[in-house]
């Protein structure tokens, strides 16, 4: 494992393998942060690219006081917000991202990927039918009535599955999450073996 400084040094001497590896390691995390603000796939991709182009070209002159990871998060947030500003008219929600909110944004961004991974895990813990209803609702963007029709269940059951899913995921990824995860895990083992 290279330290942050070693990584930057390697990149400033144009070590592409290290650069590529850094990219692969951080791409998903940074993309999703940017996407959260730009709500646009192309812009998010571009923001991540811009950050890394800067790193490739100027890594020797970068003044990085914090960890590389939080530097990258901040850089991608700034790039994304700048893109939003230059796209005025296209996006109306930039009012949300005033300077005073930046700190909060940065803290949230740092943990966004981890939260997503936790949510994904929580989804896997849901009962199969409940999981299916949630995925149809969220990912296939199906209306509750459509889901009911397709799975041949009542709309009330669809609603129950959805509320149960939200409740469970909320519990698991929330503050009480760790404890619950362990509890469920133990339950799981008992049922499986």
């Amino acid at each position: 494992m290279l330290t942050d400084n070693e990584i930057l040094q390697a990149i400033s001497s144009k070590n592409q393998a290290v650069f590529d590896k850094l990219y692969i390691n951080y791409y998903k995390k940074l993309y999703i942060i940017s996407f959260k603000y730009t709500r646009n796939q192309e812009l998010a991709e571009e923001a991540v690219h811009d950050v890394f182009i800067k790193i490739w070209n100027h890594s020797g002159n970068l003044n990085i006081t914090q960890s590389l990871s939080s530097y990258l998060s901040k850089a991608v947030i700034n790039t994304s917000l700048n893109v939003l500003k230059s796209q005025k008219g296209l996006f109306e929600n930039q009012g949300r991202y005033e300077r005073e909110m930046i700190n909060e944004i940065e803290e949230e961004a740092e943990t966004l990927e981890e939260r997503l991974i936790n949510i994904e895990r929580a989804i896997q813990l849901l009962p199969p039918q409940c999981q299916k209803v949630l995925l149809m609702s969220k990912y296939e963007k199906r209306k509750q009535q459509e889901i009911a029709d397709q799975l041949n269940i009542s709309i009330k059951t669809v609603k129950n599955h959805l509320t149960y899913a939200y409740k469970k995921i909320k519990e698991i990824v929330g503050n009480r999450g760790i404890l619950l995860l362990i509890l469920i895990f133990i339950q799981f083992l008992n049922r499986t073996f």
């Binding site: 592409q16 590529d20 590896k21 990219y23 692969i24 951080y26 791409y27 998903k28 995390k29 993309y31 999703i32 996407f35 959260k36 646009n40 796939q41 991709e45 991540v48 690219h49 890394f52 182009i53 490739w56 008219g89 109306e92 929600n93 009012g95 949300r96 966004l112 939260r115 997503l116 991974i117 949510i119 994904e120 895990r121 989804i123 896997q124 813990l125 199969p128 999981q131 299916k132 949630l134 995925l135 149809m136 609702s137 969220k138 990912y139 296939e140 963007k141 209306k143 509750q144 009535q145 459509e146 029709d149 609603k159 129950n160 509320t163 939200y166 409740k167 909320k170 895990f185 799981f188």
Partner: protein, 335 residues
């Protein structure tokens, strides 16, 4: 960490929140939910947590589909770097301490993955529009506008011979490049819509598929049935997916293809209907905050304006106020 209202009450309001997020909440319940949120800061926090979770569920879908290696190739092009460096194909995974648990989970992942995993093998081309609509030109020169959150696919090899599209979800508008020797059709389950030189719109709605013909003529056909339904320009029909019948209807929504060109017409249209149209065209949430606005009517035409300008015009005409908060527009009585 008490076991506060962890059953009845919570479920009830959680259900209302999910209804609100889907935009199917009744006016009565909407008021009830608002009152509940105002009742205590805890309730409001709970509400915001669910909204945030909902947002992150949406992000998760994006996140899971990301392909670092493909993206890296794009970056290499911009930097004029070679793309053959041997970076492992391993995406970053936060280490999870309980490996055995992961193995158990893997079987569950399979269950869920089949729900939305698209077979990317063979020569299937999957077209997918995210939060905004996309315009494509198909290999035969036909034009396709895919609405936001919509998906369709076609087979690359076969498309040159038989022009067939498969609607997976959402809505699309197709302007067919006419070629009598190669019929053009779009399918969803048992329904086949065949063009006879035309442009038309296909929308997968709750339990039905809406077809509207803009120009020319299309033919609707249900697999295994002999009869066909012909639709001419300006005509509309829907296909009931589970009951499998086609019914011609009067074209209700003159703005059905506004998402393709942002040309919108309102003619003494009630405000809730105006809002519904704008939401579907611009994919933004708009809430009528004051119930007395529901009976107001608006007449006017918009051409390729952005939503802010559109709302400004409506607000000035109807003398109402617009408040924008967290990406949602609220329409409020001026007084």
């Amino acid at each position: 960490m008490s076991n506060l209202n962890f059953n009845g009450q919570e479920s009830y309001f959680l259900e209302l929140i999910t209804e609100e997020m889907e935009g199917v909440i009744s006016a009565e319940n909407s008021i009830r939910l608002k009152e509940w949120r105002l009742k205590s800061p805890d309730n409001e926090t709970y509400y915001l947590d669910v909204i945030k979770l909902n947002e992150e569920l949406g992000l998760l879908e994006q996140y899971k589909n990301l392909k670092p290696n493909e993206s890296l190739e794009g970056l290499h092009k911009k930097l004029n770097l070679a793309s053959n460096s041997t970076v492992g194909n391993k995406p970053k995974v936060i280490n999870f301490s309980v490996q055995g648990w992961l193995r158990i989970a893997a079987s569950l992942i399979l269950v869920s993955a089949t729900v939305f995993y698209f077979m990317s093998s063979n020569d299937k081309v999957l077209l997918k529009a995210g939060s905004v609509q996309n315009t494509y030109e198909l290999p035969d020169g036909s034009k396709l506008v895919l609405n936001a959150n919509s998906e369709l696919s076609y087979s690359k090899g076969d498309f040159q011979k038989i022009r067939e599209l498969e609607l997976i979800k959402g809505e699309c508008f197709i302007d067919v490049f006419h070629n009598p020797e190669k019929p053009f059709s779009i399918h969803y389950k048992d329904l086949e819509v065949t063009d006879i030189g035309t442009s038309f719109n296909v929308k997968l709605a709750q339990s039905q598929i809406d077809v509207v013909v803009n120009t020319g003529q299309v033919k609707l056909h249900i697999a295994g049935k002999a009869s066909e339904t012909i639709l001419n320009a300006g005509e509309a029909a829907y296909y009931h997916i589970s009951k499998k019948y086609i019914k011609k209807v009067k074209l209700q929504d003159s703005n059905y293809k506004a998402y393709t060109d942002h040309v919108i017409n309102f003619n003494a249209t009630a405000l809730p209907e105006v809002v519904r149209t704008l939401e579907s065209v611009y994919h933004r949430k708009i809430i009528i905050q004051s119930p007395n606005l529901n009976s107001r009517k608006f007449t006017g035409e918009f051409k390729k304006q952005n939503i802010k300008d559109v709302l400004k015009v409506i607000a000035e005409t109807l003398q109402i106020n617009i408040v924008s908060k967290n990406g949602v527009f609220y329409l409020v009585s001026a007084k």
